[in-house]
Amino acid sequence: MVLKTIALVLYSAALLIALAFGYGWSFGAMLFNINPGALNSFQAGVQRNLSPALWDSIFVPLLQLPAWVIPVALGTLFVLISALRPGKG
């Protein structure tokens, strides 16, 4: 029940994000709009301390996704986990 509730919250968040920022807004644009300095510092931290390739190949594609996709994907993940746990939900 808890996982399904979290999923419902995430789906609701996706809807709110789409309504607030528009369906085409990227996740990166939304984060930048909320706190530009934090996203910039995160990028610098990944590229300078971990790997430039990690940022370019993993984080940039994620950040380029429409903002609502991220909570929908997470919500779906929680629904799947819930469905795979026998006797619970």
Binding site: V60, L63, Q64
Partner: protein, 313 residues
């Protein structure tokens, strides 16, 4: 016996610019009119041709050894290619020719200059400047270029122009950083018209006697050595004179940390680190940072009377 202290602009006869260089500059200004009609010289993409000869101007002695060329050309900030320092290889994809720079806005004669025309007609000289990055490292580079004032003379700014804005190229096909569409591209920087007219303000087209490499902002960048390095736009495609103070790229991204003026001051720390000293690139040395990066005699007067301004961020 009176003691006479020479002012910053007073130099001995031995350091006077040779006549040939002065006449060359005048010839260039006269030919500037020809640039109006002449199309920008278009060359094939690839390596730019060798720089015309440029004499070193010894008026701006750096007081430190020149940074090793390999260091200066392999440790670079160029956000369009990434926020790390090893962007030099990726930057090679930035085509250096053909290249034009538009100078427009509040000027009598807006123009588009081909880079070859600038190399041919501007008064090229070499200046060895210190460069102080806001990240508390520094280097000393022999830049080849020409005073910004020479370029502005060619377009004749209107009296109402108060600011000069520099715009960096934005070419998504070769600049992976532009995939991060949430940043406020293109990279914009600016200064006041008084700062632009200062003798230290320098348009750079070369380094170490060679064409300016793309990772350092080739084929043409700006440099004001008394300011933190991020104020110097790289790979410039447009210069606009305006009466409105520009909001630069970094002011939009991190306004608490990066402002319009960004003059070097060791006593004003960055919000996340001290600016009291700097690591000299290519050495293990850490040296005290100087106010205005040591160029105070040339520029301090620009800021007298300015109140309620964040001059040091």
């Amino acid at each position: 016996m009176p003691i006479r202290i020479p002012r910053g602009w007073e130099i001995p006869e031995s350091r006077v610019t040779p006549e040939a260089l002065v006449l060359g500059r005048r010839r260039g200004l006269a030919l500037g009119a020809g640039l109006l009609a002449a199309p920008a010289t278009a060359l094939a993409q690839g390596a730019p041709p060798a720089l015309p000869p440029a004499m070193r101007n010894t008026r701006y002695a750096p007081g430190r050894d020149i940074t090793d060329e390999r260091e200066a050309t392999s440790f670079n900030n160029f956000y369009e290619f990434g926020s790390h320092k090893t962007i030099s290889r990726a930057a090679q994809r930035l085509p250096q020719r053909p290249w034009t720079v538009k100078v427009e806005g509040m000027v009598e004669s807006p123009r588009e200059f081909g880079i070859e025309d600038l190399l041919r007609f501007m008064p090229l000289e070499e200046r060895v400047y210190r460069l102080r990055c806001v990240e508390a490292w520094s280097m000393v580079v022999p830049w080849t270029g020409f005073p910004l004032s020479a370029l502005l003379d060619a377009v004749r700014p209107l009296g109402s122009a108060r600011y000069v804005v520099f715009e960096t190229a934005a070419i998504p096909a070769v600049m992976p950083g532009l995939r991060q569409s949430w940043y406020p591209w293109p990279y914009i920087e600016g200064c006041t018209i008084e700062e632009a007219a200062n003798e230290l303000s320098f348009m750079v087209v070369g380094a170490y006697g060679k064409p300016l490499p793309p990772q350092n902002g080739g084929p043409i960048r700006f440099h004001q050595p008394w300011k933190y390095g991020f104020k110097a736009g790289k790979s410039i495609v447009r210069i606009t004179l305006t009466d409105r103070r520009p909001v630069s790229f970094w002011e939009r991204v991190q306004p608490q940390e990066y402002g319009f003026w960004a003059n070097v001051n060791p006593e004003v720390p960055h919000p996340r680190w001290s600016q009291a000293s700097e690591r000299v690139l290519g050495t293990n040395a850490r040296v005290p940072t100087q106010i205005f990066n040591g160029y105070g005699e040339f520029v301090a007067a620009l800021y007298t009377g300015l109140r309620n301004e964040r001059l040091w961020a």
